[in-house]
């Protein structure tokens, strides 16, 4: 099946500043692709080019069969976007915003009546449906923005930091709604700078930094791709010998062993779930009794750091 979104050397310059730099990326139909990167990485600019709100300086993107530069009107018929900053006028009420949005997206009066209510209940704004959004908190406004996508149910849903300013319970609700949307057949392009969000929600993650795509793959594969990304901390009943330590280092996929104390080791390895049985077997053979064992997987932050030398926080500060 051809990709539903294809970016070909997509570039956007604002004067001398290159916001998006020759981006080549494909989004498969029916997946959630997380676009991860610090603020200023070029995520929002990329999304705005896909929605035809801004024009690429160079290169292009295909949304379905439509070139965003040549057939922007047709490209927009496939897309719905929930913006990073809610795009609302303060005099609006959630009911009016969603009802009008649904009308523009072609829903009949009868469908609107049902769906607007359903969506407002889903985002817990039914009781506030007639209040002006002026009085709403940032999180409530964000929920109105997300509700637009949920009512539109576009073929391609583009969501820019969908859970920013939303509490943890609300985040889980929105994640579930986005998963439901994906399961119903929508493709979701999610821009986020929240590592956990990208990790739990995305089928694949594309990491961007300074307008460039660094890497794109499934979260697990990305984590596994870091040499020595998994860390196993082992405490032994007695001290390990130098010879045993050398043997331990020879086990395939063990990248490094750090001796914190002679009976306390930090082992850096790849694909810990496969190697760990071999390590415990090794200690049994060496008659070294294991007192405790703790395993930690790399995060997407480690992946980001691996490719940029910076954590996301540091990149954001930069």
């Amino acid at each position: 099946m051809p990709p539903i979104i294809r970016m070909v050397n997509l570039t956007k310059k604002f004067g001398e500043f290159t916001a998006v730099d020759h981006l080549n990326l494909e989004v498969e139909e029916g997946e959630i692709l997380g676009l991860l990167g610090p603020n200023g990485a070029g995520k929002t600019t990329t999304l705005l080019m896909l929605t035809t709100v801004i024009k690429p300086t160079e290169g292009t993107a295909f949304v379905g069969p439509y070139d965003v530069g040549q057939e922007p009107d047709k490209a927009r018929t496939l897309i719905g976007m929930a913006f990073q900053e809610p795009k609302l006028l303060w005099v609006d009420s959630p009911w009016d915003i969603l009802n009008w949005h649904a009308k523009v997206c072609g829903l009949s009066a009868e469908e609107r009546k049902k769906k607007v209510r359903w969506v407002l209940e889903q985002v817990e704004l039914w009781n506030d449906r007639l209040k002006s959004v002026h009085a709403f908190s940032g999180g409530m406004r964000k929920r109105v923005e997300i509700a637009k996508i949920l009512i539109q149910r576009p073929k391609i849903a583009i969501v820019d930091e969908p859970t920013a300013q939303i509490d943890i319970v609300g985040k889980h609700r929105i994640w579930n709604m986005l998963r439901e949307l994906r399961d119903e057949g929508s493709t979701i392009l999610l821009a986020t700078n929240e590592l956990y969000e990208a990790d739990v929600l995305s089928d694949r993650v594309a990491i961007m930094h300074k307008g460039k795509l660094l890497v794109c793959d499934e979260p697990k594969k990305l984590k596994d791709s870091i040499p020595g990304g998994d860390v196993v901390e082992i405490a032994l009943e007695k001290d390990i010998t130098t010879a045993a330590l050398a043997k331990l280092k020879e086990i395939p996929r063990v990248v490094n062993v750090l001796t914190i104390k002679q009976n306390q080791l930090k082992i850096y390895l790849n694909q810990a779930e496969e190697v760990l049985p071999k390590i415990t077997e090794f200690f049994m053979k060496e008659r070294l009794q294991v007192k405790s064992i703790r395993m930690s997987e790399p995060s997407l932050d480690d992946v980001f750091a691996h490719y940029t030398g910076l954590t996301i926080e540091e990149a954001q500060r930069e």
């Binding site: 922007p72 018929t77 976007m81 006028l89 005099v91 009008w100």
Partner: protein, 257 residues
């Protein structure tokens, strides 16, 4: 062009206008108060040899003033939308760009007409009291058509300014200049013979000014003076066509960087 998307846009902008219903009611009351202040004060101040009854002369002009102010409001809203990037939302909708632009121009024009309606009724009553004649239905329809076209042109002018100015301050300044030039160099507040005498340099501008044509066209059918000329309607139609097209073009090009 599909009519539905245009109507959706018109409906949205129209609804926003009436969200400020108390403000609108207040403004209409102020316009009416202006008219009656004219009746009491200016009529006694203005030399009757120049303008026989300033109150009656000014009433059709006031409808133009109100129409212009109301139709111009759409520009302020669009300028705010561009600054707050609400325009990004509008541009991301599954609507063709020119349908969006035309919808906004049309909405601005309709807002002007609706706002001006009570003032037009008041003007009809006042001129009836003065002349004892109601305009012929065709004349009345011509007045409404002319006012609608002025409203469309004004809406277009304000949108073109709104999307071409980068800050609110610049927009307000540009709006002030446009107001000043268009009203000062027009027959909205004073007749052409006065301009010919006092400021002959402005005669040409005043003649072609669509606000002059609108005010004089109304006076022609309501008061019988100056005489109606088809040029008035052509001038107004050109104003509407030029600025509606300019606004559509500017909105399409400038809002999409």
């Amino acid at each position: 062009m599909a009519i539905k998307p245009v109507l959706h846009i018109v409906q949205r902008d129209f609804k926003y206008f009436f969200r400020y219903k108390w403000w609108v009611a207040g403004m209409i009351s102020m316009n009416l108060a202006d008219l009656f202040i004219m009746a009491i004060v200016y009529t006694r101040m203005v030399n009757p040899d120049i303008i026989t009854d300033y109150f009656v002369f000014f009433a059709p002009g006031l409808t133009i003033t109100a129409l212009f102010a109301a139709a111009f409001m759409i520009g302020r809203e669009i300028n705010m939308e561009v600054r707050r990037e609400i325009s990004h939302y509008m541009l991301s909708l599954p609507i063709k760009r020119w349908e969006l632009a035309i919808g906004r121009v049309l909405a601005g024009g309709l807002r002007g007409i609706i706002y001006m309606a009570p003032l037009l009724v008041t003007t009809l009553i006042i001129t009836y009291i003065y002349t004892s004649v109601f305009p012929h239905p065709l004349q009345f329809l011509t007045i409404v058509l002319a006012l609608f076209l002025i409203s469309i042109g004004t809406s277009g002018l304000s949108i073109a300014l709104a999307v071409s100015t980068t800050s609110f301050e610049k927009y307000i300044t540009a709006r002030g200049v446009v107001y000043y030039v268009l009203f000062f160099c027009s027959t909205v507040f004073y007749p052409m013979n006065l301009i010919q005498t006092a400021l002959p340099q402005l005669v040409l501008l005043a003649q072609y000014n669509p606000l002059s044509c609108g005010a004089d066209l109304s006076r022609a059918f309501l008061l019988g003076n100056p005489p109606f000329s088809p040029f008035m309607l052509v001038d107004i139609a050109l104003f509407a066509l030029i600025f509606a097209s300019l606004a559509t073009f500017a909105y399409m090009k400038v809002t999409q960087k």
